[in-house]
């Protein structure tokens, strides 16, 4: 059995495409077998909704009268600093940016109530935000200061541009010390008091296409409640990790860079998040359609939580000291049962990624395709695979001699 993306799109246009979610396909394959299911199903939809720190947005604010050169100056949106080292009225706001006067961790653990991710959520919700700018003034851009309300609808462009999202698998974080830890993986109770994980598992996009056979540069996706695209592989993209018999990575592996028009996204799928004692971030909703071009591709999408394993890592010592040591592996089936065993102790699990929201995303994308509102795209280039021989480099410090 083989089919092409063009054939699938023809069926979508006619309203005849058979679309199931990456959860539904599991039962279907169990009942009918891979061969029959692959003949019937055209598209499998995936979804994930979790905190993704390498997210942000760029904006073209429009030119004031008289003009001001924000580039090389300073710009704040609701007191959160944006990057200005580009042209006059273009700025980039990162999800983890914090107001200059945020106390951070001076009194540990800091609350981190408001940051770049929250500004992005408010902009998407259509709220006015305060823009404050200072510049050095030039002959062609004479102004030095500006404070004004602005709104996403007043901007020329507002584009979500996330340089690392949708991690293909991730660590399970535990705490072997006797103190509570406040990490990017949430609050970790001491003495193996909790185990936090963050993946949609069997619904997660890259876990359903483990060798990047269909997801590539140019793939159209559900992003933040609107339409987006895969722009590149994400930072730290690392296909060369241990994999199960079925090819599923058992460590953090592939990642995606994604892009899309922020103006058509929805605030419930781009939620500002605060990690106590760590910082601010953005919880991003992503859904990716997988065209069933062959039986092999369908077999990958039928992966279940019990077959996907994640490494258990101590965030008291091993993670901060970059030690490669792991305490074992747990399947998402075990993680989702609420308890895993680590060092012979039963440990309560908690998820940072919302599975019910991932289901909702996969179902929404399915509806869009069934209704004929969302056509699949042919990737213009593949993501680097195992054969690319990428190695994940640590930072080797070289002392600077004065």
């Amino acid at each position: 059995m083989t089919r092409t993306i063009a054939e699938i799109n023809e069926k979508i246009r006619k309203g005849q495409a058979v679309v199931v979610t990456a959860e539904e396909v599991i039962d279907l394959v169990e009942k009918e077998g891979v061969e029959k299911a692959a003949q019937r199903v055209d598209v499998v939809t995936t979804g994930t909704f979790g905190p993704m720190c390498s997210s942000g947005a760029y904006f073209n604010l429009g030119h004031s009268k008289p003009r001001i050169k924000i580039g090389g100056g300073r710009a704040y949106l609701n007191d959160v600093p944006a990057y200005t080292g580009i042209a006059a009225v273009d700025i980039f706001l990162g999800a983890t940016a914090l107001p200059d006067d945020d106390p951070r961790n001076r009194i540990h653990p800091g609350a981190f109530n408001y940051g770049g991710g929250h500004v992005i959520e408010e902009l998407v919700a259509g709220k006015d935000v305060r823009l404050a700018v200072s510049a050095y003034g030039t002959d062609c851009y004479p102004r030095k200061r500006m404070e004004t309300w602005t709104n996403i609808k007043d901007m020329n462009e507002a584009v979500l541009f996330n340089i690392r999202n949708a991690y293909q698998n991730y660590n399970v974080a535990v705490n072997l010390s006797d103190k509570t830890l406040y990490t990017y993986m949430g609050v970790l109770k001491p003495n193996l008091g909790s185990a936090n994980y963050s993946s949609a598992g069997q619904l997660s996009p890259l876990l359903n296409d483990p060798y990047y056979r269909t997801i590539g540069i140019g793939t159209r996706i559900f992003l933040g409640g609107g339409i987006g695209y895969v722009a590149w592989h994400g930072t730290q993209h690392n296909p060369n990790v241990p994999r199960s018999d079925k090819g599923v990575p058992t460590r953090g592996a592939g990642t995606l860079t994604v892009i899309g028009d922020l103006k058509q996204m929805k605030p419930q799928w781009l939620v500002g998040a605060s990690m106590v004692g760590y910082g601010c971030t953005l919880t991003v909703g992503i859904g990716i359609p997988i065209p069933i071009l062959s039986e092999e591709i369908l077999r990958y999408t039928a992966v279940r939580d019990e077959e996907i394993f994640a490494p258990i890592v101590d965030y008291a010592e091993a993670y901060p000291q970059r030690s490669p040591e792991i305490l074992g592996e747990a399947s998402y089936g075990e993680l989702k049962s609420g308890r895993i065993i680590v060092q012979e102790k039963e440990v309560l699990t908690a998820s940072l990624s919302s599975y019910p929201k991932a289901v909702e995303i996969a179902n929404t994308l399915k509806e869009w395709i069934v209704r004929g509102d969302f056509l699949l795209t042919e990737p213009v280039a593949s993501l680097p695979g195992v054969e690319a021989g990428i190695t994940f480099k640590p930072l080797k410090e070289r002392p600077i001699e004065e």
Binding site: P109, T349, Y355, P356
Partner: protein, 136 residues
């Protein structure tokens, strides 16, 4: 009939230096467990208690508190989940000490069981979208 209730007591500044809880225990024969206390001289005091005893003693004790001017709230209303902000991720589940935040194994939604909540507030900052709110 013996009962056990959790209540929030608000003490106006003029009552903060009075031995009201002593009277409550001594005169009304109630067993109490302090879940949270915040008392500063010349400011409103706040006390969250679990009160146990006979229904008759409990009713009389509550009446005594009302008569001396303590404002009483039942506990369930005090920690509120903002349903539009909750993403049902589950980050709160392992840190909630009483199991008031629990996962429904079928739907994977996070249930907030208000009758188990002791208003310890650990979830408030641990919730990434800050959906757990304190309403006193």
């Amino acid at each position: 009939m013996a009962i056990s209730r959790r209540v929030v007591l608000h003490f106006p500044p003029r009552l903060v230096d009075q031995p009201i809880i002593y009277q409550l225990v001594k005169e009304h024969n109630l067993v109490l467990n302090i879940l949270k206390a915040s008392v500063t001289p010349n400011e409103e005091g706040l006390l969250i208690l679990e009160l146990s005893g006979a229904q008759k003693d409990y009713d009389q004790g509550i009446r005594y508190l009302q008569e001396v001017g303590v404002r009483i709230q039942s506990l369930g209303q005090n920690i509120v989940r903002n349903e539009t902000r909750c993403t049902h991720c589950g980050a709160c589940i392992a840190i909630c000490p009483t199991g008031a935040l629990a996962l429904d194994p079928k739907t994977r939604l996070v249930n907030f069981l208000e009758d188990r909540c002791t208003a310890c507030e650990i979830c408030v900052l641990a919730c990434p979208p800050r959906a757990m709110e304190v309403h006193f």
